[in-house]
Symmetry: C2
Subunit: 207 residues, 2 copies
DNA sequence: CGTTTGTTTGAAATAACTCAACGGGAGTGG
DNA sequence: CCACTCCCGTTGAGTTATTTCAAACAAACG
């Protein structure tokens, strides 16, 4: 009996284009092939906080397969190429296709753990520790997805983006970067980053 | 054909007793009947951050059914009574028992949303806003579970606990409480809390 | 080539922290 | 029943990390 593989449509987004609006119904999730995206929340007075970061090679918002709904907006941080994974995969439930479902559950569990980690970062770490934690997290995830370029990796985030991830001011993010650079811990030019020592970086992140 | 209902064992814990240690394998989850618990993380230098709060009537760590593992420790904040929900419920997958599974998935989705909300609170809100958000969240959840006592509700958290939730110092938590009390927004005595106006409280939480 | 977006820096203001001390209440043991 | 301890709440004074405001500069962009 032939079970059809789920169909994968390709789609692309411009920078700052929405992948989902708050409250919108969703009948598919994304897998990012190229480019970065994030989920965020804006308070009434304009304060903005990014609550999830999606890197190339990762599943974006796997929990939509359970909730069928985007609770928060998702927007492209860079130009983006993605494939869609439709709800038909959710029917794998009935088809005993754990092989299709496991990556989705896995991504959900990872998301849950990463969010817990960010609560720790925001609640209990200094500015420098938060930024080092972010850099180390990005480095590790890009490496896991085979996205290192020599001893460097893409860092397309602006200092405003980073500020909205680590819960600081863009100005202060800039000062921390300046200090990390001065001490030779990182090198960052034209959206490409190098870090001297990943293990040392993890220490600085107070992991 | 008779499908057996999942068996529910009752168990109880003392305050500060662990429901799970970090990294431990788990073959069941809990439903809290009475008492509060939390998941937390301690950094090497002792800084502590609570990343999830579990109130009476709620499922505790539903994602264990997927991961079979406690990534972070869970501890009782008060004396605790709970029932267990075993892995056999996970087999509901194969039995098409969505009726058993839905509450679990629902709890997972709620946990995910609450965590996102806390990232916003910690990243972008002032001390008073964070504490009001916590009070409002607790009030709402207790009300949803029918745990209000007249116009009051149980608040067994110490100011140390609260500090570790909202990412502040116990001393500063105390000062914020003092100010909320002075303005007649809350009343708190002998572990029982009253709030003047839930809607106003939500406003103070910067929503 | 002008415009916009992002980075960098300085000086002053402030929210939250640290340190230190005291007081009350709840157990506990004599 | 008292004394002792421990935990928790409370308060004050001084310090610091981060923000705010303002401005200039660089880079990307159409």
């Amino acid at each position: 009996m032939a079970v059809p593989e789920p169909k994968k449509d390709v789609c692309s987004f411009r920078r700052h284009q929405y992948l989902a609006r708050a409250g919108e119904a969703q009948d598919h999730i994304y897998r990012l092939e190229e480019g970065w995206a994030c989920r965020f929340r804006v308070l009434r007075d304009g304060r903005r906080q990014i609550v999830a970061l999606f890197l190339p090679g990762e599943l974006c918002e796997p929990q939509w397969l359970l909730s069928h709904r985007a609770d928060l907006p998702v927007v492209a941080l860079t130009p983006l190429r993605a494939t869609t994974i439709g709800m038909d995969v959710a029917d794998a439930h009935q088809q005993h296709r754990r092989d299709l479902l496991d990556p989705v559950y896995d991504a959900m569990l990872q998301a849950l753990n990463r969010q817990a980690e960010w609560i720790v970062n925001l609640g209990r770490k200094t500015a420098a520790e938060r930024i080092c934690a972010l850099i180390h997290d990005i480095f590790t995830r890009l490496r896991n997805n085979g996205r290192l370029i020599g001893d460097r990796f893409a860092m397309p985030l602006t200092q405003y983006d980073i500020a909205d991830i680590v819960g600081l001011t863009p100005v202060h993010v800039n000062r921390v970067f300046k200090s990390l650079r001065r001490e030779g811990i990182i090198d960052l030019k034209s959206r490409s980053m190098w870090i001297a020592d990943p293990t040392a970086m993890q220490q600085l992140a107070a992991e």
